[in-house]
Symmetry: D2
């Protein structure tokens, strides 16, 4: 079988680098096109990214020599890529939103990590373990916008991936949740490179990440939303409040979660069993990036920990621990996921794999 040719937009940034690393040796997809800002354009990838490659694996050999194109030049991608991953970070969100839609108009399926199109009504915000059914929005999107083959699919913010799948698993079994109070301890890779200055992260934490709390609180409502009349109608039945902090960890966002159910609460044993038994569409469809165990529960009282648990299931699992009674609400637990894999490039690839299996590529 010939592999599909992939383009990566924003290929020189942190998320773009992760796409290239994770797609090395992918069985269905092959990176064939890389694009970035005008100042990187015209250089071989290895040269364009010199001094900024920040991963603990080297630049994939096949990518080193690819000529970087200007991401704003959609024509250059024609005939070179069958679909694209967008890790674009243009000066304004409106520009990013418009450029992603323009790629779609030109016939490219776009799988985006950007927040620009997350609230576009006919764009699905996907976590395949939760709302794979939202892919049906693509048909409306194409119709609304006169797209032939192209479309835009987005993934949500990395901060919520550490708790949203465990919550979904409970709701799926009939245990409706009505309240979440969340504090996140987020890794520095989430801010890109150079990102957070080391003077802020040696003997320090920063209890603030610009724009992060509102995403953490609002995006679940769209993921849990219902598709009706070609739109996603957000489900706002879970009230969420959050504090997002930055800690000196390379990769892995930790979420400390306090929760309250709408009705009677399940027992701790039931919750753990539901998490461990959770069946996911990605696994059933045999997506290559699907975690064998989408939700892992660890009994040891001091886990999950970023360095020790973030890489579980090729960094695509959510690891939970410390489920315990709450003296005020129902339960508390700690969730963890790898922010640049599960929460960024790996999640984007999973979205593309889902579309591939559903014959949308």
């Amino acid at each position: 079988m010939d592999k599909l040719r992939v383009g990566v937009l924003g290929a020189t940034g942190m998320v773009g680098q992760n796409y290239l690393r994770l797609l090395e040796n992918h069985p269905w997809f092959e990176v064939a096109y890389v694009a970035a800002s005008p100042k990187s354009a015209g250089k071989p990838y290895a040269e364009a990214v010199a001094g900024r490659w920040n991963l603990d694996k080297p630049i994939p050999e096949k990518v080193k020599g690819l000529m970087v194109e200007d991401a704003s030049n959609i024509a250059a991608a024609k005939g070179k890529a069958d679909f694209v991953f967008s890790a674009l970070d243009l000066p304004t969100k409106d520009e990013t939103k418009a450029l992603e839609l323009a790629y779609a108009k030109e016939g490219f399926p776009v799988f985006s990590n950007s927040s620009a199109n997350r609230w576009t009504e006919d764009v699905p915000m996907l976590i395949p373990e939760i709302n794979h059914g939202h892919l049906s929005l693509i048909e409306s999107q194409k119709k609304n916008r006169g797209f032939s083959k192209g479309f835009v699919v987005v993934k949500p913010n990395c901060s919520l991936q550490s708790y949203i799948t465990p919550i979904h698993a409970l709701e799926q079994k009939g245990h409706k949740v009505e309240l979440l109070v969340i504090t996140t301890l987020q890794a520095v890779s989430g801010a890109g490179y150079p990102g957070v200055p080391s003077l802020d992260m040696v003997d320090n934490i920063v209890p603030y990440i610009g724009g992060e709390e509102i995403k953490t609180e609002k995006e679940p409502s769209k993921i849990f939303g219902k598709i009706a009349a070609g739109k996603c109608v957000p489900d706002e039945s879970i009230k969420i409040t959050s504090t997002c902090t930055r800690v000196p960890v390379v990769d892995g966002h930790t979420a400390c979660v306090t929760m309250k159910f709408k009705g009677a609460k399940p027992s701790k044993e039931e919750i753990i069993k539901i998490w461990r038994d959770f069946k996911s569409a990605p696994k059933e469809l045999k997506l290559t990036f699907a975690p064998e165990r989408p939700i892992i529960y660890i009994e040891e009282e001091n886990r999950p920990q970023p360095r020790k648990d973030r890489d579980s299931e090729k960094a695509m699992a959510v690891t939970c621990g410390r489920l315990r009674d709450c003296p005020v609400f129902d339960y508390r637990f700690v969730g963890l996921s790898h922010n640049t894999v599960r929460g960024a490039a790996g999640g984007g690839i999973l979205n593309a794999e889902l579309a591939y299996k559903k014959n949308l590529l």
Copy 2:
């Protein structure tokens, strides 16, 4: 004026070291006696603590040559100390509790950092800015137990000092609080030395501190309690739930706080004004360790931060920031205090200074 002679029990540990450092050049008190475990006993202090002195200031010259005594030998302290600070950490809490009471029985006022006597009914758990009136328990304690001059006063756990004074300030002005959801990001010095292994604190956080959450949730009720019939009756009107985590910070505990008032909520401006105007007994009594501003509010959106704010007001202030609306409850804010000063030795000294000014020493 002659200075009072101070004994420090548990003088070789982290809290004990901080007592010695902070008492250097104290205007009213002078360290005259140091005691620790039998294996340190009989050595000059500098020798007993060799390789374990962990502060960024050197051992005070006057203390270096003091002979370390066995803390279990109360007789040795007689005639050498007018009162003692207890940073004891005996194998069991019962032993610590008993030894502190035994010192009191032998005539020593004891100011303790240990958790052993925190729930002893006739022992006040003091934060002078909040419940200085609880000192009246000492009279009952003496009567109940037949103590002549001695007594025991304790301070609460370090984890709650980052938010409890700001909450008290609001309540004092009539804004009763009914709910607190708290996540702490605590410094490694809180675990003593050697304490937390570096393998747990490089590229990592640990979302668990043994026994810390229950203290964080329960101790405020005693601090806010009412004295009646020679006992402190806890005030359980504030419901508290917490998650306590360890982060790679040397000193300074951060608390992320979500709160709900019992009745109508004050405006943000009112809250900030109340905090900034907060008058404290320690300051009015001109205690030397009293912070000029007990509660500091910083407007910058990414503060407080441990490294930049923990030392404010000689490390005795609580610094707040990020007061913002909550989409679920009333407000959220971040509080910070220095755990080994405000939350440990400095807090203990403030307690002793209060007793001194009240003629209890």
Copy 3:
């Protein structure tokens, strides 16, 4: 082909854990026996190591249920292991030395990470890329000591693995080195768990590691030694002076090296070519742990860096960079290797693989 059954002595410590992790799915060897101190003995491995497993991969499934034996009970290993890896850390070196030799006497080939037998005259100290020929000492060792099938082979200290292979590569091509001035920046995993306290590694470095400098300076002489009359005669022609420091890095020892050649110095280009072309016995013998490129040279001026380069070639390579003229001697460069893989368990496995291919197991 049936796999050889491996025993790991000292299986619960940091090096032991790495052996278990690295041997998972090994094509020739299978962990069949684990032993540790008496207090771990009698428990399933997962229970014995609970709270101390520190790797970023979970405990291998096959090992979890193995019953931990008392390492001092050699008889227990009989019939269960074909050879053993020793990561023993008994109270004295003499005890470790004696126990390793006792295992050998009882018929077990022993591949040791301990320093106890490094200076035993008939015990080879092996880095297969450098002195695989020293394996011939085994025959003398068996004869001297009346061993039938057993023997002891050791590996050198982790601190020297970051520069010794590059030096060997140059010497092999006729460029004799006469002086090395070395400063190491060593990772905390080298001290085991709990190891270095976090209070020493947050906003700090420690310019001292007990016993490390003497090993760094002396062990190369044995590795470069000549076998004569059944002994290894150290080659002391390279003068080495070192300073060993501890830095807040999880894995990966960095060595800053200043060097002087005995005669005319090769050009920088020649040195880099020699390193890149270096052929190693492990690779030619197709040992599974042999790095494809034993020495990697990176051109970027700010490399090698521990987090980015330690995992190269499955963490078995030495990565060099910053080769530059020296205003006083000939050249300076920076070398890096993974201390718990290349410098510990991976190196031990490579030694065993070499013995296996030479039909010594």
Copy 4:
């Protein structure tokens, strides 16, 4: 006595911030003027530095409201400052060099931290403990350049302050040094803010600092130089080779030093005595920033350490330890100094205090 009015050029950067902090409450000097780049000009200082103030003490009250001027506008400083500290960091060194000399021409004594004028022949590069006599160059400088009251004095790079005073102390007592091999482990504050990205400093070190090694190796020759014919003639009798690395430490540069004497070597006891007895001109002149003990020697084998020793003597001392025999040369030791105080703003203030006492201001 009226205080002299001080201007700080480059006041918003890291070094500038340290000047403002350290000059708060200075007995002879008072900050009266702050200047920075055009984009800060015209704002009150507190506003210009918002989000960039990085010290663990707050902005001095008196400075908050000072209007920031454009540093290139020398006329603005007239009548407002009696002399200036330059922490300028213009796009090119030539621009900085020219601007500093232009300030001098306009009558301002300039005490600079920049490297721009370090090799200007008639500009003294001062460490008052070592070469206070070089102040005599000022007279030649004024004459050569037609300056009336103004002049330029510079301080050397921060990296060499951790070992150069101890070396000077030995030479002063007749023990000529001929070789130094140095590896530095430098703090992140040396790179300013934002400076080193946290992704390079969590679980990592960087064995490279651009331009640092050449300064470390060359600048001592000017400091140790002789004044002749109105110029400083460098003394190149000490051969120096260095490797400069960056480590995750906030403040405090550590230097690992290997040294060889020209003639017979003194004993260890002699060296330690020389260091401890070292008399310095700053102390004899009672300069307020003079350390009581310019060189501290610590006996504990694992010291000096940045966090524990950098603040000694108000962060103006050099702390040494680990003096030990060298198997190749004569001795090895570890030196430490506070890079933003001793190595930057504090050193600059000491230079100005020296000039003040010598009636040059």
